[in-house]
């Protein structure tokens, strides 16, 4: 029996890849830190009531559950860290003003998900609580862009949407919950035929805006088209204005801002601007984020909230296989000068591996391409 085989979509990360993953994890956390985002480490599991409140059905399905032997209550293994950060902001910190939190850790999903098609993404993210204005949306999106650039992505596409537009149309058409959900699913995949079928029983005037939503995606011209063809409600006008402001502030030679008004990912969870980052060579979004002002309410303290997260494993997929960084092999010796030399090298950040007596020397297995050798009474680093 192959007892050592792992479950499907669960994997070991081996040395070269693990080293690269950890290096980027540290660099990203340093980036978040110098932007004022404080690191938190929420638990791997907690009661499902706190883990899933206000987050919708999809996250419920994605969450592994176990029974707590101490209380008989159902616990969930986190499938997303964002609600945990919201809980920490709402209850543990109790800041009156703005709080900025970041996190990095494994989450578990019942079904393989995301770019890496894994059930164990390494989720990293940054969240900003306590500010409702567009400036905080811009701040987190800029941080997301910097994070992806740090991972080596040259040209980024930031796709922006706004859930208030669909919400306003849905409210005007007085859609029932079931119809709203079906319509939202059809819009999400731009299934024009299905959208038409779903709105067929609405008054003619109310039908067209939903159909128009499926076509409202592309560059900045989308906002003007939306202005022309969508009803002139205050909510829609404000949403379009916010999207225009985002585009003006984010666009740069290496960042293209696109819009997609039928993008309704996490409609029940998000409350305003939502965004996703794409790059060539990736089959799906690399980072996702948006505003979720209502989630804190489930924890008794509604706070404006916006943030983003990414799966670090998925984000590194297009980089190709990781290369092992090579070190220096030190021979077996009692020479105090050698010990001094080894510690000097290590203090500089060089990997020094000390040989063990009678152990076979395979340079590739030891990940060494240089050796320490005594030349003219002096220890020197030489190529193998």
């Amino acid at each position: 029996m192959h007892n050592w085989l792992l479950p499907e979509y669960i994997e070991d990360v081996l040395p070269a890849e693990a080293a690269r993953l950890e290096s980027y994890r540290r660099q990203l956390l340093d980036l978040f830190r110098v932007h004022g985002y404080q690191y938190v480490m929420p638990p791997m599991m907690e009661y499902v009531e706190s883990l899933l409140t206000g987050t919708g059905h999809d996250l419920d399905i994605a969450t592994f559950k176990v029974v707590d032997q101490l209380t008989g209550r159902l616990m969930g293994l986190r499938a997303d860290t964002t609600p945990q950060a919201a809980r920490i902001d709402a209850h543990m910190l109790n800041h009156q003003g703005v709080s900025r939190l970041c996190y990095a850790g494994t989450v578990l999903r019942t079904k393989p998900d995301g770019l890496a098609r894994t059930r164990e993404p390494l989720q990293m993210g940054a969240e900003l609580y306590g500010h409702a204005g567009i400036e905080s949306d811009i701040e987190v999106q800029r941080l997301m862009i910097k994070a992806l650039q740090l991972l080596g992505m040259q040209t980024l596409f930031v796709d922006v949407s706004h859930v208030a537009i669909f919400a306003s149309l849905s409210h005007m058409a007085q859609l029932e919950t079931q119809q709203e959900e079906e319509l939202q699913a059809a819009l999400h995949c731009k299934d024009v035929a299905r959208v038409k079928a779903l709105v067929a029983n609405l008054p003619v005037k109310a039908q067209q805006p939903f159909i128009d939503l499926t076509h409202l995606h592309g560059g900045i011209e989308v906002l003007e088209n939306a202005h022309d063809c969508l009803p002139d409600t205050p909510e829609i006008a404000q949403a379009l204005q916010e999207m225009a402001a985002i585009a003006a502030r984010l666009r740069s030679p290496s960042v293209e801002v696109t819009f997609d008004l039928s993008e309704l990912r996490g409609y029940h969870y998000h409350s305003g601007l939502v965004f996703a980052a794409y790059a060539k060579g990736y089959a799906g979004p690399i980072a996702l984020g948006g505003r979720y002002d209502e989630v804190g309410a489930a924890f008794g303290r509604a706070r404006p909230a916006t943030g983003f997260s990414l799966d670090l494993r998925g984000a590194l997929l297009a980089l190709g296989p990781a290369q092992t960084s090579m070190g220096v092999l030190a021979p077996v010796s009692d020479d105090p000068a050698l010990q001094t030399m080894i510690e000097t090298l290590r203090a500089e950040g060089t990997v020094v591996v000390e040989a063990l007596p009678e152990a076979p020397v395979h340079y590739s297995e030891l990940a060494c391409d240089r050796i320490l050798q005594k030349v003219d009474g002096c220890w020197q680093v030489l190529a193998v």
Binding site: F157, D159, C189, K190, D191, V192, A193, R194, T214, H217, G218, T258, D260, A276, Y278, A279, K280, Y282, A283, G284, P285
Partner: protein
């Protein structure tokens, strides 16, 4: 490079006029060639020939940017990671429930019988019967579903019906329509975001060439 995933046969034949409208012509005939990647007259567009049921998978994983797949196949796949912006109105048929000519489907439903159903479309069948509040046992087959009721494997089949000829030849009758089927253009979501300048003209040309009859 834009990759379009297609299946051989009816879908390929009925897609050719749409591709022509977009100025894309395959340089080889898939029926005559054994190649799975077909070059086109455009250097930046290629076709890949895959099984019909695999088209959504290729597009979902980004191995193809565009694909043409029947709604039957998309419903089974679930459509994750895909946009379905166009109903191409080609390869039309119906998803039906069919039984033996001498089987009283309505009466067995009224009695609350638990039917055995053979089908290739397990998800579609499950959702259809669940919506009707019927208990069924589904048996997955990969072909020749019509045989199921004839040899006592099942009471009913769920399958695509275009002319009904195969049903009649095997003394079966269609008793219920689950839905109309036609082929859809599917687009990888990420590719649509980053390759819009290349993809949009092709999609618009397809949209302009759809026949409504």
């Amino acid at each position: 490079m834009i990759t379009i995933a297609l299946s051989k046969g009816r879908i390929f034949d009925e897609t050719t006029p749409l591709l022509s409208a977009a100025g894309i012509h395959a340089l080889e005939d898939p029926e005559a060639s054994r190649k799975l990647i077909l070059p086109t007259n455009r250097e930046d567009v290629r076709l890949i020939i895959v099984r019909a049921t695999d088209v959504p998978t290729y597009v979902q994983y980004g191995a193809a940017d565009l694909g043409i797949a029947g709604k039957d196949v998309l419903d089974e796949h679930g459509g994750e990671g895909l946009y379905q912006p166009l109903d191409l109105n080609i390869a039309r048929c119906k998803m039906m429930v069919a039984v033996r000519e001498d089987f009283d489907y309505e009466a067995s439903i009224r009695q609350g019988a638990r039917l055995k159903v053979v089908t290739k479309y397990v998800k579609t069948a499950r959702e259809h019967f669940a919506a009707k509040g019927m208990h069924v046992d589904l048996i997955k087959l990969y072909g020749s579903m019509e045989l199921g009721p004839l040899v006592g494997l099942a009471d009913a089949i769920v399958d695509l019906v275009s002319t009904g000829g195969t049903l009649r030849a095997n003394k079966l009758k269609a008793v219920e329509e689950i839905g109309a089927i036609s082929s859809r253009l599917v687009v990888n979501q990420a590719s649509y975001k980053v390759n819009r300048p290349l993809l949009q003209p092709i999609i618009d040309s397809f949209a302009g060439a759809i026949r409504h009859d």
